[in-house]
């Protein structure tokens, strides 16, 4: 990263090669289509590039990267919400739009919907902990909060999922 700050093209190439796959995986946490994920990745890299001077060698790199990725995702989410609020419903969905989200097995699809129904802050913590494999401290850095707050959000998410799964099982009986 320091070589990148000194404008070393090889360092830039190495960073793009190594950091993009975990970022794509993180952007996939919101069940975005491949095109959406790639757009988010490009936007995120432009932001990383513009704010590369704010990285300090004494701080861990990945929370810095994920903090920028998080804002990229939030901005895209807000933009999508704004566009959706202006959309006019049409009678039929244009062909080709059905295939954007990968199909999951039935049971997992239900669980995916349960996770999607969690509040954004809780879902985000789950994605960072489980999908991106970050530690509690890294999530706290990336979300500009404390380890205690991250633990609390994760706990609430677990409680909500546990309750929902319990209800599902009772319905199944």
């Amino acid at each position: 990263m320091m070589r990148y700050q000194r404008a070393d093209p090889a360092a830039l190439e190495e960073l793009v090669r190594r950091i993009s796959p975990p970022l794509l995986r993180y952007f996939g946490g919101s069940r975005a289509s491949r095109n959406d994920r790639e757009d988010l990745l490009q936007d995120c890299w432009i932001r990383i590039h513009r704010s590369r001077h704010t990285y300090r060698a004494s701080e861990p790199l990945m929370p810095w990267i994920y903090a920028i990725a998080r804002h990229t995702r939030l901005d895209a989410y807000r933009k999508r919400r704004r566009l959706e609020s202006r959309e006019v419903l049409v009678a039929s969905v244009p062909e080709g739009l059905h295939q954007t989200v990968p199909e999951l097995p039935r049971g997992q699809d239900d669980f995916d919907q349960l996770v999607a129904s969690l509040p954004e802050t809780q879902r985000e913590v789950l994605v960072m902990l489980k999908v991106s494999g970050m530690s509690l401290e890294e999530v706290a850095f990336a979300t500009s909060s404390t380890v205690g707050a991250v633990k609390q959000k994760a706990h609430r998410a677990y409680t909500a999922l546990r309750r929902a799964l319990g209800k599902d099982r009772e319905h199944a009986r």
């Binding site: 190439e13 920028i68 804002h71 807000r78 677990y158 546990r162």
Partner: protein, 240 residues
């Protein structure tokens, strides 16, 4: 967590859910595209100074501006306050300046360690100002409450607006991602800066006057800062 069969089931579901997220590698075309865009504007950059140096820079501006304004403005309030009132108010206003400086410096760097959440900074500084004024100053209000107070509010705004521009010049080098919080932190710092010379200048050292015309104006400034920051974050230019 695994002791409970329901938790074990949840853990299994979460593992499957995490594994279901696509882990496709980066396509060479996309890598080339990203690299091409960034390489065209790749120039050496100077990293931001350390967090402590940023905080010191904000505090230096805060102290220099406050001292300069106290020196040039009328000192009626200074002569009216008791030693205890002066000491406590100086400590509260300086403490607010320190807290907002720490918060502002923290918001300039994405993913930086936050010693204190911004909400805590806001509550602590607000409670300190309200409690300080309510306990230290007499509860009397004159009949000309509005006409006496309006010039104080106008003066506070006249100090705060250029001060906000100065702090913005210092803060704009950061990657300003949390816009509502950043706006509130910036105007919070300027509000505390404006309150300092106003406290020594004002000749109406009574709790109702100080709470409404000094304190409430500061609260409105902070709210406006948060609102402007949020609007810029939503509709304005994206992260620098």
């Amino acid at each position: 967590m695994q002791d409970n069969p329901r938790d074990a089931h949840l853990e299994r579901q979460l593992e499957v859910w995490a594994a279901s997220h696509p882990d496709t590698g980066l396509s060479p075309a996309l890598r080339q595209k990203v690299h091409g865009v960034l390489a065209s504007s790749l120039t050496p950059v100077k990293p931001l100074p350390s967090q402590s140096r940023l905080i010191l820079a904000f505090l230096a501006v805060f102290v220099a501006c406050a001292a300069g304004l106290i020196a040039v403005m009328d000192k009626a309030g200074f002569h009216l306050m008791t030693g205890a009132q002066m000491g406590w108010m100086a400590a509260i206003l300086a403490g607010g300046g320190v807290l907002f400086s720490i918060s502002l410096a923290g918001q300039m760097v994405p993913g930086s360690r936050r010693a204190l959440p911004f909400s805590v900074v806001l509550v602590l500084s607000g409670v300190a100002v309200i409690a300080g004024i309510a306990l230290l100053f007499p509860w009397r209000a004159s009949s000309d409450f509005i006409s006496e107070g309006r010039p104080c509010a106008v003066m506070e705004l006249m100090i705060a607006i250029p001060a906000a521009a100065i702090f913005w010049l210092l803060a704009r080098r950061g990657a300003l991602v949390a816009s509502a919080g950043l706006g509130a932190a910036l105007t919070g710092l300027t509000a505390f800066l404006a309150l300092t010379p106003l406290q020594t200048q004002c000749m109406f050292q009574q709790a109702p006057h100080l709470l409404v015309w000094h304190g409430a104006t500061a609260a409105i400034l902070i709210g406006l800062g948060a609102l402007i920051g949020d609007c810029l974050g939503r509709f304005g230019p994206r992260l620098r």
